[in-house]
Symmetry: C2
Subunit: 305 residues, 2 copies
Amino acid sequence: MSLLVVGSVALDSVETPFGKREQTLGGAATFFATSASFYTQVRAVAVVGEDFPQEHLNFLASRGIDLSGIAREKGKTFRWKGRYTFALNEAQTLDTQLNVFQSFAPVLPDSYRDSDYVFLANIHPELQGKVLDQVRSPKLTAMDTMNYWIRETLPQLQKTLRRVDVLFVNDAEARQLSGEHNIFVAAKAIMAMGPKRLVIKRGEYGALLFDQGHMFFCPAYPLTEVFDPTGAGDSFAGGFMGALAQSKHTSHGFLRRAMVHGAVLGSFAVERFSLDRLRDISDEDIRFRFSEFQRLTEFSELPVE
Amino acid sequence: MSLLVVGSVALDSVETPFGKREQTLGGAATFFATSASFYTQVRAVAVVGEDFPQEHLNFLASRGIDLSGIAREKGKTFRWKGRYTFALNEAQTLDTQLNVFQSFAPVLPDSYRDSDYVFLANIHPELQGKVLDQVRSPKLTAMDTMNYWIRETLPQLQKTLRRVDVLFVNDAEARQLSGEHNIFVAAKAIMAMGPKRLVIKRGEYGALLFDQGHMFFCPAYPLTEVFDPTGAGDSFAGGFMGALAQSKHTSHGFLRRAMVHGAVLGSFAVERFSLDRLRDISDEDIRFRFSEFQRLTEFSELPVE
């Protein structure tokens, strides 16, 4: 089924203990759409500047992504520069140049308005709300956010939270948003703000799904090196929403399956710089890694010897 | 099958955000033996002082634990005093009085020498080795250790590591012992030191089992409050070794099942001070929580709607 993403397309400069890259393809919508494209056709809304390399758009098109919602505007593309240290998964932002992203006001092409599944990547919560105004009757809406919006625009964020079905946050954001340290108490407090489903990402410790009375504990894939954590969260969301749109369902069992596909895509994304690993994988790689997640977690009261 | 534990029996004074207790029943062997006693008969080797309340021994006996290896010696019982802050699971030790535990030299009663499953709780690695000298042909041996022994007695620890089948550590200890930050790299390095199986406990994030080529990701039970973390690790080991001894197996599927029983007992242990919650639970409570772990982790590629 149709899947819409609205968010950033960027040029990232990244330094990790394994090396550095300058102005490589990045952005939340980019990681999301590429990950989701393994499951379903994705419609993207974003803005790029005059300097944005055509080859990047060609790559996205080659993934079957509908780019009619990507505007090219006067000025430079959004640039982000960050560094990861060895022990930390949290990026240290060295420089942010919003450029054309500064005045981003997402307008959906008419052909996008019937989208069934909608993902609002990390942008101003008011803009997220304006996207919701433009879709007709989505089956499932989801959003991401970040510490900045929680701190600076809480009332607007709370308003948007009341309108979406699923919120994606990491554990630090869950604690910040709820004011609760215990992650299960935090989850309950956040769901009282609106979203009936909540995904809390915990990096190397996996991710939790809260779906009304149900809870699902999804492991992280055992990686001996996290080459570049950039895009892990958006790739997780892309695998999740893509698998869900492909399944045409929104019920609990399908959300669990979607969590694992999210973890699969997130784990691939961090194996190389930028989208390099995602460019490389096949449906067969995804199937195989999904089965590794099964092997990683299965147990029974009466094991076969 | 027979299960032997050698370790401390103590009187703990504990402060947590939820309250405090003075000189309550504690010690690694106590938590281990009580947890394991839900699965099999446990044989304990420990030392207590003249001041150790008979009611505590009566309680252990009521759990079917063989106390013939518990010596009562002149002097005071081992005392530990610690505090947990709200955000941290790590105890801050306020006071340690080794007392009779200072000169603990574990001697196995003859009737213990045929023990099939052996757990060496956190004591000097040389003493752990001396216990191994006294058992005839165990089916499976396991040990715990801590940062102090890793720092102060590494050569002796490495010697003992070469003699056991399973090592239990937490993630900080795994990093310290291996000198590796990535937990999967650390696991590989530790297994190269001897133990073919390794359990890494990660508190609220669950626990990992490494068993030669296999890996198992065990979740933590979602607790909205950790009342008193004391004894969590030893209760985990008790549930693990107890379930394993009960199964009469040591093969991989049974190790996975044992991990979940470890997580079940560890989760109960932290719900009250001291052993208060473990005194309270039934086999039915354990079965029910085990099934909750199943529900927490199960997923499939083709879910039922």
